[in-house]
């Protein structure tokens, strides 16, 4: 038979030990890995780091540092407890820590970040079975826990420290100020356009990541272009919020906050691009993502306007996370050519 030029012997009919058999497809796309997706989120968060650093100075560093280190420690401990190989290399714990830190006030004591991190990783992720199995956004689970466990630290008053050398830290967050002025009846009539610029650029009080709309947009656009975040979710969330905001505005035209204020203020944009887009806790199909995002947007605005809380992103995300299995089930796409006919569907 014909000769094959290879260093190893290769008479046809015999197994060639150098050839490896595997299932198709034999070409992997090199564009992405889970680790690269997490890295993208961290890169996209750089504008947020800068904005937080400018406004909150070293408090930003402190919170981010504590949360990231705690999340990494928690991940190591919990994977060891579950007798699994350490998965810290995939950077998901770092991302969880970063998002948790960004959602905390500058003034939160060190133990708030640490406990929040352990809850985020332990209850938000490990208990479900590790990465890819969790139903809720882990960072939001951690934040929900500390919000209820340390109400003073995370309540409206926690953001304000009168007499602090950094001026913004002596003011209430814009959303809190709005809520208080409405309930006190001292709200300005007519839209407060002077508020828009600070909301956009970020020179206001608030949690570390929510202040700068510009930074969130910049990072968010990067994520959408890289396709690490599904663009359907931020778009539908902003649209959902805008619709409800528009309705509220229509009923209350004299409000000092228009729809635009609401879109730029609070954690809406940060939540839209960084929190809601967590792939594990969001739906699989495009149609499901529209529903999910719209639901969060609507809930955020309802909470801001109708509930006692000034901000509602965290709860809205958690509520819609709970609905994701149902959303997935209801949005199973119709296959091209229709469903498998009964007789062949074994």
């Amino acid at each position: 038979m014909a000769e094959v030029s290879k260093t190893k012997e290769n008479a046809p009919g015999k197994q060639d030990s150098a050839l490896v058999v595997a299932a198709a497809p034999h070409l992997p796309s090199r564009a992405l890995s889970t680790r690269r997706m997490m890295l993208d989120v961290l890169i996209a968060a750089v504008p947020l780091f800068i904005a937080a650093g400018v406004v909150f100075r070293w408090y930003a560093l402190k919170q981010i540092g504590i949360c990231v280190v705690s999340c990494l420690a928690a991940e190591l401990i919990f994977t060891a407890l579950r007798a699994r190989r350490a998965t810290v290399g995939d950077l998901s714990a770092v991302v969880t820590g970063m998002i948790l830190a960004m959602s905390l006030p500058w003034s939160a004591p060190w133990y708030v970040g640490m406990i929040g991190s352990f809850v985020a990783i332990g209850i938000g992720k490990a208990v479900f079975g590790g990465i890819g199995q969790n139903m809720f956004n882990p960072a939001m689970v951690g934040r929900a826990f500390v919000m209820i466990a340390f109400p003073a630290a995370l309540g409206a008053a926690g953001y304000v420290q009168p007499g602090h050398p950094i001026e913004v830290l002596t003011q209430a967050t814009p959303l809190t100020a709005l809520k208080e002025s409405i309930s006190a009846g001292t709200a300005q009539t007519g839209a407060d356009w002077s508020m828009l610029w600070p909301l956009f650029i970020g020179y206001t009080n608030g949690s570390l990541g929510e202040t700068s709309a510009l930074a969130a947009l910049a990072g968010g656009l990067y994520l959408c272009i890289r396709r690490t975040a599904s663009w359907e979710i931020p778009l539908s969330m902003i649209a959902g919020a805008a619709v409800v905001g528009g309705i509220v505005n229509a009923f209350n035209p004299a409000s000092s906050w228009t729809v635009l204020h609401h879109l730029l203020g609070g954690a809406l944009l940060f939540g839209a691009f960084f929190i809601a887009t967590d792939p594990v806790s969001s739906p699989l199909t495009p149609r499901g993502k529209w529903i999910f995002g719209a639901g969060i947007g609507v809930l955020v605005m309802l909470m801001r306007n109708l509930s006692g809380y000034p901000e509602g992103v965290m709860f809205s995300v958690l509520l819609m996370n709970a609905a994701v299995p149902l959303i997935n089930r209801s949005t199973i796409p119709r296959p091209v050519g229709g469903p498998v006919p009964e007789k062949t569907a074994a």
């Binding site: 050839l19 198709a24 497809p25 034999h26 889970t34 792939p279 699989l284 199973i332 091209v336 006919p341």
Partner: protein, 453 residues
């Protein structure tokens, strides 16, 4: 008079989703077809098609002539096998095909001067004149019989007996005959070069197939990454009434379900055939084989195969006899490189990896892709993070992650809900998955286990 909608589809039609792997066709894209010297030994499997295996009709040590029937079709959905060489038949043996199936095979040892070899072989198979007019002399029934007698099966890979496809059925009339010149798999350039060097045979075969099945219209579909082939076919089809559809290059455009959407705007029903939307799809090589069978009375004995990839020293397009072994072609193409690790029957997206290089070429083998360690190297599997990319690329609109994980955990209820049996195993999901989950492998396993449960 063609409508605007039809015109639009003839230029730039496409289907939703899909992937864009590097097409890597430059490796063999400049290689004119060469004729493989007749190998001394051929192995002819009795089943190279969908349907029942053919039954051997020659005895060991019997003399066979080039083109002689060595195994006859066993039923209507079956195809005969003919010897590509003159020589002596050997003892019936068993061989394993790339898809893992074991079947009987008739060995034939070439002996003496071959009536058709070298340039004469090329001229007989694809060269010379091919009539495009005056085809009324060939009655539809006679065309179908010639196709059956020639043992022609789909040469795009599925290998369905062509005479069954072309048989007229009054209850299901055919409006369109689609000739598939897309060749969407990376590395493969066999159909491309056939369109460059043998366009008239394709056109002639298409017209004959049209007469047989009674289609009102013939459209040849070619991806837009093959401009020379498009020109070549346009020239050959001039005056025949055949349309050329230029479709957007995307994997898996060559799949018949995607082709009917791109060119006709029609969805083939799941579990059904293009026949259900009034279409018949034929590969360009099959079409040329039809021409040879009807006009020259010759059976399907040879085909063009691309042997390419970084793991082969000299990528080539070769005219080879059915039954030549992979090692015959590999040797002619310079041999494997030192870092070759995977020899694939077909292209890298859907092809089967083989370990035995003595495996014979069959009628449906479109290429041999040899990949190196660097080509196939990939990170280990990590958990699914539900990124949804598999959903974004699945051409059939399925949810691969759910189907695959349902199959892995044997949750057949879930698999059924996500339409597992509808998967065509094109490989788009497995290609794109960032977590390197073997989606296609799991789905394929699930399809089998689900029917047994």
């Amino acid at each position: 008079m063609r409508s605007i909608k039809t015109r639009i589809r003839l230029i730039g039609g496409t289907f939703a989703r899909g992937v864009h792997p590097a097409d890597s066709k430059q490796l063999s894209g400049q290689a004119r077809i060469e004729i493989l010297p007749t190998p001394p030994q051929l192995l002819l499997p009795v089943i190279q098609h969908l349907g029942s295996p053919a039954e051997p009709v020659v005895k060991p040590k019997e003399q066979v002539s080039q083109g002689q029937l060595v195994a006859k079709p066993a039923s209507f959905v079956s195809a005969g096998v003919h010897s590509p060489v003159s020589g002596i038949a050997g003892m019936l043996t068993v061989t394993t095909l790339p898809n893992g199936r074991h079947m009987k095979a008739v060995p034939v040892a070439a002996e003496g001067d071959q009536p058709l070899a070298g340039q004469a072989l090329w001229d007989d198979v694809y060269g010379g004149d091919w009539p495009t007019g005056n085809l009324q002399q060939y009655a539809p029934g006679r065309i179908v019989q010639s196709v059956r007698d020639a043992g022609i099966v789909g040469m795009g890979g599925a290998a369905f007996p062509t005479h069954v496809k072309l048989a007229r059925n009054e209850k299901r009339p055919i409006q369109t005959l689609l000739i598939n010149g897309c060749e969407c798999e990376p590395y493969l350039t066999a159909d491309y070069w056939l369109m460059l060097q043998g366009p008239c045979a394709i056109v002639s075969g298409a017209l004959l197939a049209q007469r047989a099945c009674g289609a009102e219209r013939v459209i040849i579909a070619i991806e837009d990454n093959k401009p020379s082939a498009i020109d070549s076919m346009r020239t050959a089809a001039r005056g025949t009434g055949i349309d050329i559809a230029v479709v957007r290059t995307k994997y898996p455009q060559g799949g018949e379900r995607q082709l009917t959407i791109a060119v006709l705007g029609k969805e083939v029903p799941t579990g059904g055939l293009p026949l259900d939307v009034g279409a018949v799809v034929l590969n360009v090589a099959t079409s040329a084989a039809v021409a040879r069978a009807v006009i020259r009375g010759k059976p399907l004995t040879h085909r063009i195969i691309t042997i390419s990839g970084a793991g082969i020293k000299n990528p080539k397009n070769l005219l080879v006899p059915i039954g030549a072994s992979y090692s015959d072609l590999i040797a002619y193409a310079g041999g494997l490189t030192d870092d070759a690790v995977r020899v694939i029957s077909g292209g890298p997206m859907m092809g089967f990896a083989i370990s035995d290089l003595g495996t014979p070429i069959t009628k449906g083998t479109s290429g041999i892709t040899v990949l190196t360690e660097q080509d196939v190297r990939q990170a280990g599997e990590t958990p699914c993070v539900r990124c949804g990319r598999c959903v974004d690329v699945c051409p059939l609109g399925l949810v691969p992650t759910k189907m695959a994980l349902a199959a892995r955990h044997k949750d057949w209820e879930l698999a059924r809900r996500y339409q597992l049996q509808a998967c065509c195993e094109c490989g788009c999901c497995g290609y794109i998955c960032p977590a390197r989950i073997p989606l296609v492998q799991l789905i394929r396993m699930g399809k089998v286990q689900m029917t047994r449960e």
